[in-house]
């Protein structure tokens, strides 16, 4: 159980500065993810913690003690690699026992702890198999077991669910959460997969271009991000720009191009200020008639519809000329708002979309 502090590390590989001042504090038992696109520096950060590269400024501390002077094999960290890196010439048991053998544990101790961890990851009957004889999901669990059995201070994972197919990934998400909570180990993992980050972490750190843009709980980051870049990176969003204006009643609104006017929440807005707006597609309500009670109601023509299974991605051209992306979920019975009962959408038909002011995010 340990606290991990990454303190303003800068790291260059050759001429390129990959990490441009990265700081992150992780509390005991917390599971934090670094989320970012390829090349943003997240894997480099992980490797710096593990000791395979060294930052030229900054510090990395575990329980208030710097680990930068320690070579990788003395850092007592548990690593799960993207390709699992199981030793092909050793059985599951031998793989898992490797770290314990390095720590000179007794044979009895090894057998016991390996047995326990195999039970934890539910692989007890595969102890004498070789990696080549196992499926991807099983191999991943072995990699996890091997990293956990040594009781490391921190668990590091590189794209934990990346190599698994859809179904397996959903299963493993639940598994992973369970194991992490049961063991209660401080965990940090890096991923480019938003779903992985949002579903598995206590907090998410979004990294773009060598720097951490924002850190927060998954819901906070998704629903109310502070940074425009983070908002566009996470999930889908409709992006609009406009100018703040106050109407007769003192309510704020944003005037966008083409005459689109949105009523927004009044919180410290200056008249005439230019703002960027973001609205998530799933926050729109769809109706067949205009409802004057609901603010921000517009009519538009359906231009495109892409069926995604659980919902449909519908693109609506509103009168101002903007193309708005909304999510349509099939309703049970009732009026399907000009959309056929079977759930398919009629392109060209007119519908009304509305969004509540509190779901309109604003950025400078």
């Amino acid at each position: 159980m340990a606290r991990l502090e990454i303190d303003s590390i800068r790291l260059a590989i050759g001429e390129n500065e990959i990490l441009k001042g990265v700081s992150l504090d992780i509390a005991e038992g917390e599971c934090v993810s670094i989320l970012g696109p390829s090349g943003c520096g997240k894997t480099t950060t992980l490797r710096a913690i593990a000791g395979f590269t060294t930052p030229h400024t900054g510090d990395i501390r575990i329980n208030e003690r710097s680990i930068l002077e320690l070579p990788p094999h003395k850092r007592n960290l548990g690593l799960v690699f993207q390709d699992y890196a199981l030793f092909p010439h050793m059985t599951v048991t031998e793989n898992i026992a490797y770290g314990l053998v390095m720590r000179k544990a007794s044979k009895v101790d090894i057998r016991q702890r390996v047995g326990q961890i195999l039970e934890l990851v539910q692989l007890s009957d595969l102890e004498n198999r070789f990696p080549s004889e196992m499926s991807g999901g099983q191999r991943q669990r072995v990699a996890l077991a091997r990293a956990l059995v040594i009781h490391p201070d921190v668990l590091l994972l590189d794209e934990p669910l990346g190599a698994l197919d859809r179904k397996l990934r959903d299963q493993m998400q639940v598994e992973f959460r369970r194991i992490q909570h049961e063991v209660g180990i401080t965990t940090i993992f890096v991923t480019h997969d938003q779903e992985e980050a949002l579903s598995l972490s206590d907090r998410v750190a979004v990294m773009l271009d060598g720097q951490i843009q924002e850190i927060g709980a998954p819901e906070t980051l998704y629903q109310s991000p502070i940074s425009h870049d983070v908002m566009t990176f996470l999930g889908a969003s409709n992006v609009l720009t406009g100018v703040i204006a106050y109407d007769e009643n003192g309510n704020a609104k944003v005037e966008c191009d083409g005459g689109l006017v949105l009523k927004v929440n009044t919180i410290g807005l200056k008249n005439g200020e230019r703002k960027r707006l973001g609205i998530r597609p799933e926050n729109f309500t769809i109706s067949s008639t205009i409802d004057t009670q609901v603010p921000n109601s517009f009519s538009g023509k359906i231009e495109e519809c892409i069926y995604k299974g659980a919902y449909a991605d519908v693109y609506v051209r509103v009168n101002s000329g903007h193309l708005i992306n909304v999510h349509y979920k099939k309703q049970h019975g009732g009026n399907n708002y000009g959309i056929a009962k079977s759930g398919t959408v009629v392109i060209g038909s007119t519908i009304f979309i509305s969004v509540h002011p509190e779901n309109i995010l604003m950025f400078t």
Binding site: H73, K74, F87, H89
Partner: protein
């Protein structure tokens, strides 16, 4: 498409060998007890005459020593090769190839130059006061071993290098992260996983050494004759085709047998597919 080559090889390879084997079962006019028809007399002679027996033992001994020495020298080189920059890599490989492509006679001649009485090694040794007079180093078993090791280096480096390339870097990193230092990682992870290449390299080097002819011919003396030389002598000088054939066939089959046994042993012990 394949036909012409198969036919060619059949005529000029399979048949001559069959013929040679057939010939080896015959007797030679100069034999003690000439006989008519087929017999294994020539093979018995091979296992009885001290010249051939000594030569077989000597050939085996020299081959084993050379192979082991080559491995000890080449494995670190290969590890180094793995870590060096692309430019150095190509440079080393280029030099390896050029040395491979240089005539064997020229390379062995080079060794004669190096080991000559007035050559650099002797001069250094005298300068270091280790010897007073130049030591005769050429035309000895040591010279043969030195030249063989030198010759086998590319054949050892390339397969091992290929094997090392196939080990994912993450394996070594995983070993380090679990607490093993570099040396332990080498011993427990890298070495076992590079066995296919090690096996290939050692097997190849051993076979080359067993079959060597020009090298012992140039760098050895009559008392260091290896089996290929003995067989050639019988054919060229004595015109004893049956015995010469038998000797060379014995060497060939013996080499193959040893390689087979080696493969089986390695496969069992290392639990890796070779």
């Amino acid at each position: 498409m394949l036909g012409p080559l198969i036919a060619f090889m059949f005529i000029f390879y399979a048949v001559p060998f069959g013929n040679m084997a057939y010939e080896s079962l015959h007797s030679w006019p100069g034999d003690d007890k000439p006989h008519v028809g087929l017999s294994v007399f020539q093979y018995e002679k091979t296992t009885q005459k001290s010249r051939t027996v000594k030569s077989l033992k000597r050939t085996f001994r020299i081959s084993i020593i050379s192979t082991i020495l080559t491995f000890i020298i080449c494995f670190p080189i290969t590890l180094l090769l793995l870590r060096s920059s692309p430019r150095i890599k190509v440079g080393i490989l280029l030099v390896t190839f050029i040395s491979l492509a240089s005539s064997l006679i020229i390379r062995n001649y080079g060794w004669l130059v190096v080991l000559a009485d007035a050559g650099p090694i002797n001069n250094i040794l005298i300068w270091l006061k280790i010897f007073e007079f130049p030591k005769r180093m050429a035309y000895s078993e040591g010279a043969i071993i030195t030249a063989l090791v030198h010759y086998c280096m590319p054949f050892m480096i390339l397969p091992i290098y290929g094997s090392l390339l196939r080990i994912p870097a993450s394996n070594a990193e995983a070993s380090l992260s679990l607490g093993a230092n570099a040396w332990t990682t080498l011993r427990r992870v890298i070495l076992p996983l590079s066995m296919p290449g090690i096996f290939g390299g050692t097997m190849l080097s051993f076979a080359i050494c067993m079959s060597s002819y020009v090298t012992p011919l140039m760098l050895g003396s009559p008392s260091t004759a290896m089996v290929s030389q003995v067989a050639a002598e019988q054919i060229e000088v004595q015109l004893n085709f049956p015995w010469g054939s038998a000797i060379i066939i014995t060497l060939t089959l013996g080499s193959f047998l040893i390689v087979f046994i080696y493969a089986a042993l390695v496969g069992k012990v290392m639990r890796v597919d070779v």
